[in-house]
Amino acid sequence: MIEALQFEFMRNAVIAGCFASLICGVIGSFVVINRLVFLAGGIAHAAFGGIGIAFFFGIPYMLGTLGFSLIAAMIMTAVVLNNKSRADTFIGILWAVGMAIGIILLDMTPGYNVNLMSFLFGSILAVPASDIWWMAGLSIFSIAAAVFFYRDLLAISYDDEFARLRGVPVNLIYFLFIGLVAVSIVIIIRVVGLILVIALLTIPPYIAEKYSRSLAQMMVLSTLLAIVFNLSGLWLAYTYDLTSGATIILVAAAAFFISMIFDGLFLKKRALLP
């Protein structure tokens, strides 16, 4: 692995993986504690429509995907805020529509020769330097926003009525938060692809949640876990010549099941105590 770092693509992959981990830790924690995994999945798949738009109109990938994901995310947020009980149906529809738009636009793109698989399963080993800058900028922006609004986000996640009483504009913060989720997803799609983005956004925070006493602890712990998953998955992909997105997810999933088994044993033991 160390000698592999002499290659620029490998260095870029490690940097991209670290940015993605930071995002997973901070934004993913909010997604998990707010039970918004399905909505995050909806945004991720709808983002494919943005990929189609980017190629069809010849605009930069990040710009097209980000714009489309943000619009889809805002529509979903409006639906969730207005009709929480039926929001899942609507998210499911946007999920499918986004993908369909993406496929059709790619069909219609003349001379289209992009590897579709790289968007579905990621291409961390092929992240160009220009995308690294996009990722750096967006990561810093979303983490700064999450840190600045940490208390407000924590309050609306834990007890939104009380937050409203304290004068927090709950709906506005909610839109901001889902917007951050959309930005994060666009970044992470670059690393593991849109099919696997949900696993990377949720597995590290889910494991971390059980061992954390506060949200801040959960964020730090899940960032570290995500870095471990990313780098070991990358190492596996490099060593055995496998698809990096899939190896990263399988490492994360393995850790997830190990933590579940560990908890099962540990909790049983604790239950036996008087």
Binding site: F148, S157, L215
Partner: protein, 253 residues
């Protein structure tokens, strides 16, 4: 009348999904009262509290708190919601819960030393400071209740609303809690939604029976018999036509 009324409710009605929950409610409550909201489940107690907090908007009628609409004075109101264990497994420390009480959105520096001191003081008042770094779900029901009262007190409120604060705690915890509320009542107006009318009788200064309509009993007029009936079956208390004094819409002069 010596003291002014701190809360004025005039002909307020509220319906939820087309079903009338509260009908033509008028209420006037003086400062430093200790008011108990009693009534059957589904009678609208929590709805009335949320209307007073400004979390819900009445279909018609007006609510004035300290002479202003609830949204304007909401920062002077402390609120302890019902069933604080809904989000039990949430990764949040006791300190972070109490700091929510110091949240102010329109401020660039988000939390100051003063806010942390206020949160610490609130925890200390409730003898919960030693638990400040614990995760909220590691606490017992009674301890959690104290944390949520500390959060409400951290806002330095003039009015305190507690929605069924004794639901999750044992009888010793209840006695302690009401002793604490009595102490707080020296400086604050307190509203408690509760079924514990037995405990209420010794601390409460007035009772409001909430069952679509609101019947307000001033302390002086409560007989033990009425309270007894109120505890067993508040619906009957209203339905059987025992004379109630329904307060006039404006303070009686």
């Amino acid at each position: 009348m010596i003291t002014n009324s701190i809360i004025e409710v005039n002909h307020v009605s509220f319906s939820y999904n087309g079903a009338l929950v509260l009908s033509d409610v008028s209420l006037s409550i003086r400062e430093k009262e200790f008011v108990a909201f009693i009534g059957p489940n589904g009678g609208g107690k929590t709805t009335l509290v949320k209307l007073l907090l400004g979390l819900l908007k009445p279909d018609c009628g007006t609510i004035k708190i300290m002479g202003q609409p609830p949204a304007k004075v909401v920062h002077r109101i402390g609120y302890v919601p019902q069933d604080v264990s809904i989000n039990k497994s949430f990764p949040i420390s006791v300190m972070d819960v109490v700091l929510m009480g110091r949240l102010q959105f329109h401020r660039w520096s988000r939390l100051s030393k003063k806010d942390r001191m206020a949160a610490k003081n609130a925890l200390e008042n409730l003898e919960m400071l030693e638990f400040q770094n614990r995760k909220i779900d590691e606490l017992s029901g009674g301890q959690r209740e104290r944390v949520f009262i500390a959060r409400a007190l951290a806002t330095a409120p003039d009015i305190l609303f507690l929605d069924e604060p004794t639901a999750n705690i044992d009888s010793q915890g209840r006695t302690d809690l009401y002793a604490l509320l009595k102490e707080l009542n020296k400086t604050k107006t307190i509203f408690v939604v509760s079924h514990d009318t037995m405990v209420l009788s010794s601390y409460v200064t007035s009772v409001a029976c909430v069952n679509k309509n609101v019947h307000y009993h001033d302390a002086a007029e409560i007989t033990e018999e009425m309270l007894d009936m109120g505890y067993h079956c508040p619906v009957e208390l209203i339905a059987h036509g025992i004379p109630h004094r329904i307060l006039k819409t404006h303070g009686d002069d």
